[in-house]
C-alpha cells in the first residue's frame, strides 16, 4: 500500500447488460502521472467516476490514498480534485465567484477563499477575466478554470477526464504544461485520454484499456514499442511517383519497417525508430523522387490498438458510454 496513491482490485461495473468495467486492476504511485488510454466506451470515465465517489462499483474495491471510495467517500473527497470531460463550472457567475464558492464549500474563511481564488486565477492566466461571467469564456479558458476549480483544495490526487478533448493545439499545450507543473509539485494525476500523444507527453505510466479490461501497461517507450514504433509519412511531390515511392518504402523492411500503406495521398509505414527516416530520405533522393512531406508521428490510438489487440478500437462500445455519460448530466 505504501507509496500507492490509487489502487483498484477487480473493479467491475455494468449498466444494464453492458459490462463497462470488467475487473480493472490499477496501481498508481504517489506523485506520478498515470495515463488511462482507450477509445470511447473503454470504461475510462466510469473508472474515474468510481474513483471520484460519483458512482458505486458493482464488484471489486478502490482505494484513494488508502481510503475506500465506497466506505469512506468523504475522506476520499477531501483529498481529490476532479476535472471532467465537460467543464463543470457555473457559467452564470464570474470565474472569481466560482473559485470563491468552492473555497468556501471546502471550509476556507471568506478572505482565504478570495486569496486562494486570486492565486489560482493568476497562475492560470485568468486574472484579467476574473470578473467576467464564465459564459463569455473561450473553450480553453473554461477548461483552465475547470482545472483551477479542482485545485482550490490543493488535492493530493487529481483526476483529469479527457482534459484536452475539443481544445485547439495552443490551449492543449498550455494545459499540458500546467499538468506537468502540478505533478512536479507532487500531485498524483490520473489522466484519461483518447490520444496516445497526450499520454506519451504527460504520463510516466500508461495503461491501455478496452471494453473495461487492461490490454497493455507500461512506460510510454514500452508502449510505443508494442504499438510498432512510430509512423513515417511520405507524400511524393508528383502523384505519378506514388508507386515508385511505395517500392522504396517497402525496401525498408530489411531495416525493421512494416508494410507500407496509404492514407489519402500519404504513404505510411511503421518504423521502429527515427533513424529510418534519414535512410528513407536518402533512398527516395537516390531514386529521384522529390517529396513535399516527410515526417514521423506517433501511431494514432487506433493504429496502436490494432497493433496491441489485433482489432480496431471498437466504436460500437463507444456509443453506450457516451449515452450514459450524457444521461448523467
Amino acid at each position: 500500500m505504501d507509496g500507492l496513491a490509487i489502487q483498484t482490485e477487480g473493479l467491475g461495473k455494468s449498466f444494464g447488460s453492458k459490462r463497462v468495467l470488467d475487473g480493472l486492476d490499477l496501481e498508481v504511485r504517489r506523485g506520478n502521472i498515470f495515463g488511462l488510454l482507450g477509445p470511447n466506451g473503454a470504461g475510462k470515465t466510469t473508472a474515474v467516476r468510481i474513483l471520484a465517489t460519483l458512482l458505486a462499483a458493482d464488484t471489486g474495491r478502490a482505494l484513494v490514498l488508502g481510503f475506500d471510495v465506497a466506505r469512506q467517500p468523504q475522506q476520499v473527497r477531501r483529498v481529490i480534485g476532479l476535472t471532467g470531460q465537460y467543464a463543470a463550472v457555473d457559467d452564470l457567475i464570474s470565474a472569481q465567484e466560482n473559485l470563491y464558492m468552492i473555497g468556501r464549500l471546502l471550509g476556507l474563511r471568506p478572505r482565504a477563499a478570495r486569496r486562494r481564488g486570486g492565486e489560482l486565477l493568476a497562475a492560470f492566466g485568468l486574472a484579467d477575466a476574473a470578473d467576467t461571467k464564465v459564459r463569455a469564456y473561450s473553450g480553453g479558458m473554461r477548461r483552465r478554470l475547470d482545472l483551477a476549480a479542482s485545485l482550490v483544495g490543493r488535492p493530493a490526487v487529481l483526476f483529469l477526464d479527457e482534459p484536452t478533448t475539443g481544445l485547439d493545439l495552443a490551449s492543449r499545450n498550455e494545459l499540458w504544461d500546467m499538468i506537468r507543473e502540478l505533478a512536479a509539485d507532487g500531485t498524483t494525476v490520473l489522466l484519461t485520454t483518447q490520444y496516445l500523444e497526450e499520454a506519451d507527453r504527460l504520463a510516466g505510466q500508461i495503461m491501455v484499456i478496452d471494453r473495461g479490461r487492461t490490454v497493455a501497461l507500461g512506460t510510454p517507450g514500452e508502449l510505443k514499442g508494442l504499438a510498432g514504433g512510430q509512423v513515417l509519412e511520405v507524400r511524393p511531390l508528383r502523384e505519378s511517383d506514388a508507386s515508385a515511392a511505395a517500392r522504396v518504402l517497402a525496401g525498408l523492411a530489411g531495416a525493421g519497417a512494416g508494410t507500407p500503406g496509404t492514407e489519402g495521398d500519404l504513404l505510411t509505414v511503421q518504423v521502429p525508430d527515427e533513424e529510418l527516416v534519414t535512410i528513407a530520405a536518402r533512398r527516395l533522393d537516390e531514386a529521384g523522387i522529390p517529396v513535399s512531406h516527410l515526417a514521423v508521428r506517433l501511431p494514432s490510438l487506433d493504429e496502436a490498438f490494432l497493433a496491441i489487440t489485433g482489432h480496431h478500437a471498437d466504436a460500437d462500445a463507444g456509443d453506450t458510454e457516451t449515452e450514459l455519460e450524457g444521461a448523467g448530466r
Binding site: T53, L55, D90, D91, I93, M101, A149, S150, R329
Partner: protein
C-alpha cells in the same frame, strides 16, 4: 449550514446578475395581479375592489407555486451542466446543494410576494386580520414556498431534460391552482370538481391565507396547511436527497 448559505448565495447571484430574471420575478406576479383583478374582477365579484379583497390571498399562493418551478429548472440545469458532479466530488453535506437552492428560491418567493402585497395595498386591498394575521400570512407564505420547493426539487433531480421539467412543473401547478379556491369560490363548480377542490392543498393554503389576511376562520385551515407542508417536505425532501445522490 454554512455550505447551504454559500450555495444559496451562488443561486441568488444568478438572479441579481441577470436583469431578465430580476424583471421576471418582479413584474410577472404583478401582471397576474392586475390582469386577474381588472379582467375578471367585475364579472366574478361585481367590482374589482371586491375581487381584489377575495383574490389576493389566493394569488399569493398561486404566485408562490409558480415561482417554485424555478427550483426544478435550476437543479436540473446544474445536472445538465455537470456542476452536480463537481459538488458531489466535494466533501460537503449531502443535502447542501438542494438546501442551498431551496433557501435562495425562498428568498426570491418572499421578494415577489412582498411586491404583490405592496401594490395590492396601493390599489385598495385592506388587511382585516390584524398584525397577527399579517405575521401569520407571511409565515404561511414562507412555509408553502418551502414545501413546494421540495416538491419541485424532486422533479428537478428526477427528470432528464429541461423541457420535461418545465412541462411537468406546468402540468402540475396549473390544474392544482385553477381547480381550487385560489381564484374563485368553489360553490359554482360541478360537484365532482368540488370534491377535488376540497382536498386540493392549494384550496387549503388559499383558505388559510384568506383567514389570516381577511379575518375569517383560521385554526382549521392553518392546521391543515401546516400538515400538508410538513408532509410534502418530509416525503419529497427525503426522495430528493436520495435521488440527488444516486442519479448517475
Amino acid at each position: 449550514m454554512s455550505q447551504t448559505l454559500v450555495l444559496a448565495r451562488r443561486n441568488l447571484l444568478h438572479v441579481l446578475s441577470d436583469p431578465e430574471q430580476l424583471i421576471g420575478i418582479t413584474i410577472q406576479p404583478l401582471m397576474f395581479l392586475l390582469l386577474f383583478v381588472y379582467v375578471f374582477g367585475g364579472a366574478i365579484s361585481g367590482s374589482t375592489r371586491g375581487y381584489l379583497q377575495f383574490v389576493l390571498p389566493g394569488l399569493l399562493v398561486q404566485g408562490i407555486a409558480f415561482g417554485t418551478a424555478q427550483t426544478a429548472a435550476g437543479l436540473n440545469a446544474d445536472f445538465q451542466r455537470g456542476l452536480i458532479d463537481r459538488f458531489r466530488s466535494l466533501p460537503i453535506a449531502r443535502s447542501a446543494v438542494v438546501a442551498g437552492r431551496v433557501t435562495a428560491d425562498l428568498l426570491r418567493t418572499a421578494w415577489s410576494t412582498l411586491i404583490i402585497v405592496a401594490v395590492a395595498v396601493a390599489l385598495g386591498f385592506r388587511f382585516h386580520g390584524g398584525w397577527a394575521g399579517v405575521l401569520g400570512a407571511a409565515c404561511l407564505a414562507l412555509a408553502v414556498g418551502f414545501g413546494m420547493c421540495w416538491l419541485m426539487a424532486f422533479l428537478g433531480v428526477s427528470l432528464r431534460s429541461a423541457e420535461s421539467v418545465q412541462a411537468a412543473g406546468f402540468m402540475l401547478v396549473l390544474p392544482l391552482t385553477f381547480a381550487s379556491s385560489v381564484l374563485v369560490p368553489a360553490a359554482s363548480m360541478p360537484g365532482w370538481l368540488q370534491a377535488f377542490v376540497k382536498v386540493n392543498p392549494m384550496t387549503i393554503f388559499a383558505d388559510a391565507m384568506r383567514g389570516l389576511m381577511l379575518g375569517g376562520p383560521v385554526a382549521t385551515p392553518v392546521l391543515q396547511a401546516a400538515a400538508w407542508v410538513a408532509g410534502i417536505t418530509l416525503v419529497f425532501g427525503a426522495l430528493t436527497v436520495r435521488r440527488y445522490q444516486t442519479r448517475s
